[in-house]
């Protein structure tokens, strides 16, 4: 099966160890330089530095390097960065190339679930006509086999060394119920509060208390309170007018879950900046910008959104 190179292409790049990583990514970037591409590379700082050293100063006018820990601590923040960047450079008419490595061995289980969702959503985040080739590196020597398997499921095609191919295991996003997967159980006991629009202050107070218990700074406390408030507002506005808040403290981490009777269908919700007057997706966008992780489970039986934030 031939893979088109003039339209959007989202590849998994499999490598084993840093040397193979540098060889493969540097070649990808050099090929980009040769075709006059504009490029964005989002990796851990050490890898950025090695690539910059490898390519030399001439590359810097065409390649921007960003730190994945800043861009994608919450993996849901990554897609808007790519979309903004593609939008910005599309008018230039130049080919676009990107490298983004969100999955590294340090990621916790729930973060990995969201990284996998992020990769899956990358396949619907563009309309497919953009001349944008995005490479997602996976270190098969360091990651668990299950993670590598998911990479095959979330990428239509892959590259490794000189080889490339279509992925037989590719599974597109379920556009009907994109959030069908249930959440893992809460790691700590939770305080529960049922709320309607008259209990919003209590929603915020319960959240504040948990933040203080976890040792948050005042600013961080208010950020968590705002995020929870926005989710609760979604329940009031779109989720049947009421909801249930559960708040758990696990050491220096607070987990807040807001459940209601609504059904979220938009797979990219919370990953698209809301328009100037628009309110749709605004709450989840705010939550994604402020929180370390946001997980959504939604279907005909209702919706649960879980936020995680550390002090």
């Amino acid at each position: 099966m031939t893979i088109e190179t003039t339209r959007y292409r989202h590849d998994a790049f499999f490598y084993s160890g840093i040397d193979e990583f540098i060889r493969g990514t540097a070649q990808f970037l050099r090929d980009g330089l040769a075709e006059g591409a504009v490029m964005l590379v989002v990796l851990a700082p050490e890898k950025n530095e090695r690539l910059q050293a490898e390519l030399g100063p001439a590359a810097s006018s065409s390649i921007t390097f960003r730190n994945m820990a800043e861009v994608g601590k919450n993996p849901a923040r990554i897609i808007p960065v790519w979309r903004d960047w593609v939008q910005e450079h599309l008018p230039s008419g130049r080919p676009l190339r990107g490298i983004g490595e969100p999955i590294t061995p340090e990621r916790r289980f729930d973060e990995l679930v969201e990284c996998v969702r992020h990769e899956s959503l990358l396949n619907v985040a563009f309309d497919g006509t953009e001349p944008f080739w995005l490479l997602c590196p996976y270190d098969v020597s360091a990651l668990e086999a299950a993670v590598v398997t998911e990479a095959r499921r979330t990428h239509p095609s892959w590259v490794r060394g000189d080889e490339e191919g279509a992925s037989e295991d590719y599974v597109p996003v379920d556009l009907h119920t994109p959030f069908a997967a249930p959440l893992s159980p809460l790691a700590a006991p939770a305080e529960t509060l049922h709320f309607g629009d008259e209990e919003m202050r209590r929603v915020r107070d319960v959240t504040s208390r948990a933040a203080r218990q976890a040792g948050f700074s005042r600013d961080r406390e208010w950020d968590l309170v705002l995020a929870v408030n926005e989710l609760a507002t979604n329940s009031i506005r779109h989720g049947g007018g009421a909801g249930t808040l559960r708040v758990a403290v696990d050491g220096d981490r607070v987990l807040c879950e807001v459940a209601d009777d609504g059904w979220i269908r938009d797979p990219l919700i919370g990953r698209v900046p809301p328009g100037v007057e628009g309110t749709s997706g605004r709450g989840l966008w705010i939550a994604n910008q402020l929180c370390d992780l946001v997980q959504v489970h939604s279907g005909p039986a209702g919706t649960t959104v879980r936020l995680s934030m550390r002090a």
Binding site: D197, M200, N229, P274, L290
Partner: protein, 274 residues
């Protein structure tokens, strides 16, 4: 002594007893008393019997009772500036007659049953509050929750001091401030619309002549995206006046940063420093 009190009542006895308390303070302070409610003059006088010899007070010019329609402008909707001017004249007349000022206790329920009338009355409340901060007048504005229900919150939110049943809190208050308004409390989905209405009321009368507006947010503890959106709409309606939000809460900065609204409003530190 409270200068401007909002009293929400659910029985006639509550209103009368609150009015008597308020007017008694005025009596002891040497103020001329004005008592306004939706009853005839004899009934109004009878309400105030606990104050003592009310007939004598009336004769001395120390007490005036009036049915509500006679006190406030004719027509269904109050004209804020005209009403403030009317009270200013009454207060100055009281001083000219040897009193220390004017003390008013009024049941204004009948004037605020319609939404338009109520919103204009909010504008009047803010304007008269500014007058009373310096001028020789104190007032207790009373509203019957049996008639107004939740709409009474529109009036409560434009008073800093209120006597209301618990559970009937608007969640925020607004009052005239230096070069603008002050806001306290928390704005969320339960009161963002009311907040927008209060801002409009401020623009209607209090801020009408201003070149620039300072919103003192030092006591605004929290505001969400809906509240911020209402604030930004107000800023756009207030144009070409410049509006600055002084001492904003963290949540306002967070909403503005995450939604990319930095260009749509200006912040200042406390005391107007940038």
């Amino acid at each position: 002594m409270v200068r401007h009190l909002c009293c929400v009542f659910s029985t006639d006895v509550q209103f009368i007893s609150a009015a008597v308390d308020f007017l008694r303070q005025g009596l002891h302070a040497g103020e001329r008393l004005l008592y306004v409610a939706d009853r005839d003059a004899d009934a109004l006088l009878a309400d105030l019997a606990p104050l003592g010899d009310v007939a004598a007070l009336v004769e001395q010019g120390a007490l005036v009772v009036q049915p509500v329609r006679a006190t406030y402008s004719s027509g269904d909707v109050i004209e804020p500036q005209a009403q403030v001017a009317a009270y200013r004249s009454l207060a100055e007349a009281a001083v000219a007659d040897g009193f220390t000022g004017l003390c008013v206790a009024a049941d204004a329920t009948e004037l605020v049953t319609g939404a338009d009338a109520r919103h204009r009355f909010m504008a009047y409340e803010l304007a008269v509050d500014r007058f009373m901060a310096e001028g020789p007048m104190r007032a207790m504005c009373a509203y019957d929750v049996r008639v107004l229900d939740d709409a009474v919150l529109d009036l409560v939110c434009v008073h800093r001091d209120h006597r209301v049943p618990s559970g009937l809190q608007p969640g925020f208050a607004m009052w005239p401030g230096d070069e603008g308004v002050g806001v306290s409390g928390e704005i969320d989905v339960s009161n963002a619309e009311r907040f927008a209405v209060a801002l409009d009321a401020a623009l209607d009368t209090l801020l009408a002549e201003a070149d620039r507006v300072r919103i003192n947010a030092a006591h605004l503890e929290f505001i969400d995206a809906e509240g911020t959106s209402a604030l930004i709409s107000f800023i756009e309606r207030a144009a070409p006046r410049g509006v600055v939000v002084a001492d904003p809460p963290r949540s306002l900065r967070a909403v503005v940063d995450t939604l990319g609204w930095k260009d749509r409003l200006a912040f200042a530190g406390p005391e107007g420093t940038a």
